[in-house]
């Protein structure tokens, strides 16, 4: 058994410096497209390239609705003039900025994770938060199996018909005050599953959402940022576009 201890020590410290310092290792995020000024003829082609209508045109400027991006890379790969791409991960946004985060959520919080029809990737990324690279416990985030002990409800997946009832039950079973963090493009907009007749178009169809974390899947650091936003320990990301006004 002592061999395990020695091996554990030998592995060294792997944990990321985030949120104290930005993480610079390669491969921690798939990145997101960046809006802004593009050559005029490029705008329309980019808009037509996107299967999930991420881009919209506002006076010749491209506005990016990050919540819709499913990382199909069709606006980057195999096209002549690709969209700009940034390797960021601080993606957590607050809906309409109306939330006063803070007091009850300042210290350690317990998170109840509900899979509402997720493809497995977002869930896997949530699971990665427990591994030594991210180690969410150091930030006072704990996963709890029961909503009775939970402060934050973390939902992944577009909310399938069969899970809708269960998700509502979980939310109802949570003590107030509570926050809902929706993780992943599917949980925000339904993603590729939005058209399905047995899926809702994201968690907002079912529950009030406080923090949204885009990405398909949202990488662990983005989820971490979302949780930090939900606890008022990080500022939410600037929004390129107001999602409520677009396509809805």
């Amino acid at each position: 058994m002592s061999q395990w201890v020695i091996n554990g020590i030998r592995a060294g410290i792997k944990t990321t410096a985030y949120p104290a310092k930005p993480e610079t290792a390669a491969g921690v995020t798939p990145g997101l497209p960046v809006g802004g000024d593009y050559p005029a003829n490029n705008v329309n082609s980019l808009i037509s390239l996107c299967p999930t209508r991420v881009f919209s045109d506002s006076d010749g400027q491209i506005i990016v609705d990050r919540r819709r991006c499913i990382h199909c890379y069709r606006c980057v790969r195999g096209v002549e003039r690709p969209v700009n791409w940034e390797q960021s991960y601080e993606w957590g946004t607050v809906r309409d900025g109306q939330h006063e985060f803070g007091q009850p959520f300042e210290r350690s919080i317990h998170i109840c994770v509900v899979d509402a029809g997720d493809c497995g990737a977002c869930l896997n990324e949530v699971k990665q938060l427990n591994n030594p690279y991210y180690n969410m416990h150091r930030l006072g985030f704990f996963i709890t199996p029961t909503p009775r002990h939970a402060d934050v409800l973390l939902v992944v997946g577009p909310v399938t018909d069969h899970m809708k009832f269960a998700l509502k039950k979980v939310y109802d079973a949570m003590p107030a005050p509570k926050r809902v963090v929706a993780v992943g493009a599917c949980a925000l907009t339904g993603g590729v599953f939005a058209e399905s007749f047995v899926c809702a178009k994201g968690v907002r169809d079912v529950l009030p959402v406080d923090v949204e974390v885009p990405g398909n899947p949202a990488p662990p650091l983005a989820i971490l940022h979302g949780l930090l936003v939900a606890t008022g320990r990080k500022a939410p990301a600037m929004k390129d576009a107001d999602p409520t006004n677009l396509h809805e």
Binding site: T146, P147, F165, A166, L167, K169, V170, A173, A176
Partner: protein, 756 residues
Amino acid sequence: MDTPTLISIFFALCGAGILLSLAAPPSRQGNVLAWLGCLASVALVLAGANALLAGKTFSQPLWTLPGLAATLTVKLDSLSAVFIFITGLVLFPASIFAGSAPASGAAGRALAVGRDADGQSNVSESLARSVRREGAPNSSRGGCAPQNRAFTVFMFGLYASIAMVFLAGDVVLFLLAWEAMSILCWLLIVCAREKEIGHAGSGYLLLATGEAGTLAAAMGFLLLAVAAGSLDFGAIKSAASGLSAGLQWAVFLLSFFGFGVKAGLVPMNFWLPRAYVAAPRAFVPVLAGATLNLGLYGILRVNADLMPAAHAGPGLLALVVGTLSALVGMLYATTDNDLKIMLAHSSIENVGIVAAGFGAGMVFVATNHPALAAIAFVAALYHLINHSLYKTLLFFGVGEIEAQTGTRDMDRLGGLSKWTPLTALAFLAGTLSIAALPPFNGFVSEWLTLQTMLRSAELSSTGAKMVFALCGAGLALTAALAVTCFVKVYAMSFLGMRRLDENQKVSEAKSGALAPMAILAALCLAFGVLPTYIIPALDTATNPLAGASAADNLVPPFFASNTAHNSLPPAFVEDFHNLGAQVGQNVLPGRGLVVLHRGGAKNPVVFAMSTSYMIVVLVFLLLLTYVVIRLWLTRSRKLERRLRWDGGVRNLLPEMTYTATGFSNPVRVIFDAVFRPTTVEDTRETVAEHFRTAIIREKERVHLVDKLVFHPIRTAVMWFASCLARMHHGRFNAYAAYALATLLVVLVVFLLFQTS
């Protein structure tokens, strides 16, 4: 009023009850009969209290039997008084309950309804069927009315015979009363005619085992009587000390076995669950609360009073048998799902604890530790009283449940507290008491019993110490299992989701059933909260048995000034005074509110306990918690009531909740080495091997005692009977030959004796 008058009143009331129920149909006079029963039991309680507290005992020779040199004597000493008192306490609510409830369970209810609705001519199909099954060709009317009448007659007879057993001052009266009691018990069971036919067998089993016990006990008495040359208890007592060791053992074994049968000690406890299941629901509480005590009374009377053991052997045997009874009883109680059978096994357990206490007392008497003996006897008597109280209460509750739901199977009950909140509350008091949780009475007596076991350190013999240690551990395990068992009983019956059929109407019990439960629940609490008043009373009864008083040891006179009593070191009393043991000194009478258990010189440890203070603290803490949470912590928050968390299933169904079997299965799995069940498993398939329609598993658990004792006895009896049957083949010549052979044998024997 003096004691003999009260006793006379009691017997007069019993007689009046018998005459009244013979004279008129009891359906019209239910109330009058209930009142008679209540008054009779009040007389009994008063007589007991009078004798115990005021010391008004008496001894009255009644009638000298011609031909025998025996005088029938009625005698009430302090030991009898305790039993008379507790019998009265149990019979009082039982009379109310019997007045409100018909003679039998659910079927009885159906009968009553049928009769009321359609007069006397048209009775429900079930009754007709049951009458036919009984083979009684008389009309349906003949099936039920006299049965109720018989029930009340027998009940009053039973009251009188139980009291008479305790009052008997000589062997003949004792045995007569005992016989009457046994036969009346049997009659009360078999008179529940509308039950299945198998129950008659249980009645006969009770009678047969009871008679075997009586025979053994009678032989024990006769051995004593022969030695004393008298049938009078007083004479026997004075002569018993001169008995040889072998004769003492014989008397002990005979009486312990004989009375142990009635009390339900292992290995002769197999009749008990069967009889409880068969008995009508108005009778079971009496059977459990009053008649079990008779056996314990017999053991105590013979082995502690008439013939105190001269050495530790009998006591140790009683201790071991008691502990085994407690353990075996509790194991089966924990794993059984039939409420009545569970309570029957739990009776075996409680009787075992009492017997263990008696055994400990006998050991201490024999080894000349009178103070310890007094404590042990007090603990045992206390537990006996407690058992009577809460077991009666629980049987009322079970009777109500069965009447309401038509089942006693905990796997089919559940969630009843929603429909019967008051019954549930009373039943909860009973379960808390029997699970020995403070501040209820079971806690006090089990605490005392276990403490007594610890005091065995003062014994000189290592062997005896070992026995005590093991038995103490066994009793501790029993206490732990009891909590498991009664958590299951209450939770599975009253809490959780309702598993009953929706059509089954369940409503709160009527006041006639609720009142007795409430009385007993209050008594359970009172006996738990006020042990310091009860222990000195019990002490007067055990004083003559142990030859010492336990009162000063257990309930020190903290309310008196520190110098008032010289049996305790003043410094010790002072210490306790500093702790606040004299709180209430100026308001309350008595000695104090703290029960002490002091170790001897070898282990100077003091165990102190006060349920009186405890309940004050408990109530205070409850209030404080309420205040802190409701008025302070959550003052700014809205309180919301949400559904239980069930994993998000659409509809949590009753079949998705723990069953009683499931709850106690861990215990069953752990003790399977003891139970040794035979398992049968069968899988049914359809179409192909992987589509299973059913996995059928049956585990048959034969009761250990049944397997080791009952079945061999039964087999032997059957074998003997078949041998006898072989002789009866109907040929006249053969019978003539038997007669001739018998004659010859008698002649030979006669001649042989003649010559010698």
